[in-house]
């Protein structure tokens, strides 16, 4: 993977935008999952914004949304887009560049 994402994973603060569509099962699952992940791995150093696209339909085009839910990691490092309900935790963590403490 990209080496720069691993620059300072412990220190970096995360900016995450989650785009959901109302209260669909996928969306609610995604919200629950991301909240868990943030609380578990990024406590105190994350900023999570959850947007209901139904409320701001114009955003869908602006943010180039296709699949929903989509989680966009704005920082640190490169912008990454994660599509799905975030239930595949291993992939989510890898994509977000979170080092899992080997416990």
């Amino acid at each position: 993977m990209d080496t720069e994402e691993w620059v300072d994973p412990v220190e970096a603060s995360y900016v995450l935008h989650l785009y959901i569509t109302g209260a669909t099962p996928n969306s609610t699952r995604a919200v629950r999952n991301i909240k868990e992940i943030c609380e578990h791995y990024l406590k105190g150093r994350y900023e999570l914004l959850i947007v209901d696209v139904y409320q701001q339909t114009g955003l869908a085009q602006e943010e180039q949304l296709i699949g929903v839910p989509t989680l966009i990691k704005r920082s640190p490092g490169l912008v990454r887009r994660l599509v799905g309900d975030l239930s595949d935790r291993e992939r989510v963590l890898k994509a977000l560049g979170i080092i899992v403490p080997s416990a």
Partner: protein, 576 residues
């Protein structure tokens, strides 16, 4: 653009349709694409799928005031706008006017990480937002298959695409979905399974190094449609599909007559020329002065101060002008003052459709009163028979609708395809058919001209011999010999023969006159002889008569002397 209310109505409710505004397509589909339903346009690369989609939107906006949404998965909005600007489609302006919305869906596999279940609701929201923002009635998705490269989960994709089409239908927007042609299937991802209302297949074929694009309506649920493959073109004005038989035969006709330029030929027609706006075909074997006849006609049109377009497939303008000067047809002045326009191209330069479109364009710009195409048979080197036929049908229809007199020449060579071309293909389309042919006689060839048909007027049934002289085309009177028409040397021989016969007859007459004279003289001589003889006899008789009379008188006198007494005698006796 077109007025579809004039289409014959069957009285039955028909599927509501949205006119695509694409030239010719609405005629094939009998009105347009299914209104409020999705239509799939599939084809290989370079077929003009995107263009067809964009034209559908732009025409909808300009001609039918139906705003449209273009969702592009491949090209950016700027690229698209630049690509179609050359066709006169001003996408940025339409966007500014809130008539068109462009949404570029960026799909990049590398950026997308699947982390669980998802759906494509984002796409729906974007589309819904765009449609609602401008009240769109038309939507184009170009090319939705790009999603398959971005999202690995095919199951989700397929069910979502099905849902999307259903959703678009519910929205009541007329949609065009473009898709790449697949191996053995209409589309690479089998989208045709999901779009069941109308499927149009575009095809790009190279035959004999000439590319022809063709369009076919694979299916159109709930409607009849043209089932053939129709050639289409991407022209400066967008897509032009060339349907063959769909133009209605209801154009206005003219009662005006135009001269053929050859007075003697005019004489052969009941109304001294061709009807204006009719189509004339001159067929003939090689070297029968078809071009000369055509140029004579063009010259005549220009002489009447009208514009004429001469499409030459065999000669360059300079060559044509020079050659025609040799028979006293001077085209140069008309060429100079713009009344005559000579378009010389090689038939093989373009495909048939391109030729047709070029002609359409020139005719629209130049607005000629007459068009001459010399010769149409050369076009067969570009396409096959039926293609040439359909092209000519369309051309003739176009000219007729515009009341332009058309004159075509065609080379025939007896038993070849060309004969069929003229006989089966074109002759039914043309109004007047003049045949020029060789009359091969004793060691020479002569040209004979005859009228095979002339719709709407009587015409001479004679085969006239015609000469191309220094003074142009001249028709000679018919000379009929014992074996039919005679021409050239035969004609001369026949004339001499007739003269000799005449002379003989005259001499015979004179001889008879002289004979009679002689007879009369003989008769008169005989009469003279007889008369002389008669006179002799008469004289003789008269002489005999006189003698008899004299004799009798003498006799009478003698008798009297005997019966009387003779005093004198007695006296004399007494004295003695």
């Amino acid at each position: 653009m077109h007025d579809y209310t004039t289409l014959p109505s069957t009285g039955l409710p028909t599927l509501p349709k949205a006119p695509s505004g694409i030239e010719g397509l609405d005629e094939i589909t009998e009105g347009g694409l299914p209104l409020g339903r999705p239509t799939l346009i599939c084809g290989s690369a370079g077929c003009g799928k995107t263009l067809m989609g964009i034209e559908f939107l732009v025409r909808g906006i300009l001609d039918h005031d139906e705003p449209g949404v273009l969702m592009t998965f491949e090209e950016s909005a700027a690229e698209l706008a630049a690509n179609v600007a050359s066709l006169g489609f001003d996408l940025p302006k339409l966007q500014a006017d809130q008539k068109l919305r462009l949404d570029q869906v960026h799909v990049d596999r590398a950026e997308i990480e699947e982390t669980g279940e998802y759906d494509l609701e984002g796409l729906f929201i974007r589309l819904g937002h765009a449609i609602d923002a401008i009240g769109a009635k038309r939507v184009v998705l170009d090319t939705i298959e790009a999603l398959f490269s971005g999202f690995p989960n095919q199951g989700v994709l397929r069910s979502e695409i099905v849902r999307l089409f259903r959703w678009l239908k519910d929205k009541g927007v007329t949609t065009i979905i473009t898709a790449e042609r697949g191996e053995g299937t209409l589309t690479r991802q089998g989208l045709e399974e999901y779009v069941s209302d109308c499927v149009i297949l575009l095809d790009n074929r190279v035959i004999d190094q000439i590319t022809t694009r063709r369009l076919r309506i694979v299916k159109y649920r709930g409607s009849t449609h043209g089932t053939n493959e129709y050639p289409y073109l991407i022209t400066e004005d967008g897509i032009s599909v060339l349907p063959v038989t769909s133009l209605l035969l209801n154009h206005a006709v003219s009662n005006q007559i135009v001269s053929s330029g050859t007075p003697a030929l005019d004489e052969m027609f009941g109304r001294r020329g061709y009807y204006q706006g009719s189509s004339v075909l001159i067929t003939g074997t090689a070297g029968t002065a078809k071009t000369t006849l055509a140029a004579t006609f063009a010259h005549e049109i220009c002489r009447q101060n009208q514009r004429c377009l001469f499409v030459a497939f065999e000669e360059s303008p300079q060559q044509l002008v020079r050659n025609m000067q040799s028979v006293s047809i001077d085209l140069a002045p008309y060429l100079a003052n713009g009344l005559l326009r000579i378009e010389a191209t090689r038939p093989t330069l373009n495909g048939l459709e391109r030729h047709l479109v070029t002609l359409h364009k020139i005719i629209k710009d130049f607005k000629p009163a007459a068009v001459v195409i010399d010769p149409i048979s050369n076009l067969i080197s570009v396409g096959n028979l039926s293609e040439v036929k359909s092209m000519l049908t369309r051309l003739i229809d176009f000219l007729k609708v515009n009341n332009i007199t058309a004159l075509f020449t065609a080379l025939v060579s007896g038993r070849s395809l060309h004969q069929e071309l003229t006989e089966d293909g074109v002759s039914s389309l043309v109004d007047t058919w003049i045949s020029v042919r060789d009359l091969e006689g004793i060691g020479e060839r002569n040209r004979g001209i005859s009228i095979l048909k002339s719709r709407g007027m009587s015409h001479s049934n004679k085969v006239r011999e015609f000469l191309v002289t220094d003074q142009g085309v001249q028709l000679l009177d018919v000379v009929v010999g014992p074996g039919g028409i005679v021409s050239g040397a035969g004609r001369l021989a026949q004339q001499q023969h007739e003269q000799a016969q005449l002379l003989t007859a005259q001499q015979e007459q004179q001889r008879k006159d002289r004979e009679l004279e002689r007879r009369r003289r003989v008769l008169e001589a005989t009469i003279g002889n007889l008369r002389t003889e008669f006179e002799t006899v008469e004289e003789e008789l008269r002489r005999i008569n006189d003698e008899e009379l004299t004799r009798q008188q003498t006799l009478v006198r003698g008798k009297a002397q005997f019966t009387q007494p003779l005093p004198l005698q007695s006296k004399r006796q007494s004295n003695s």
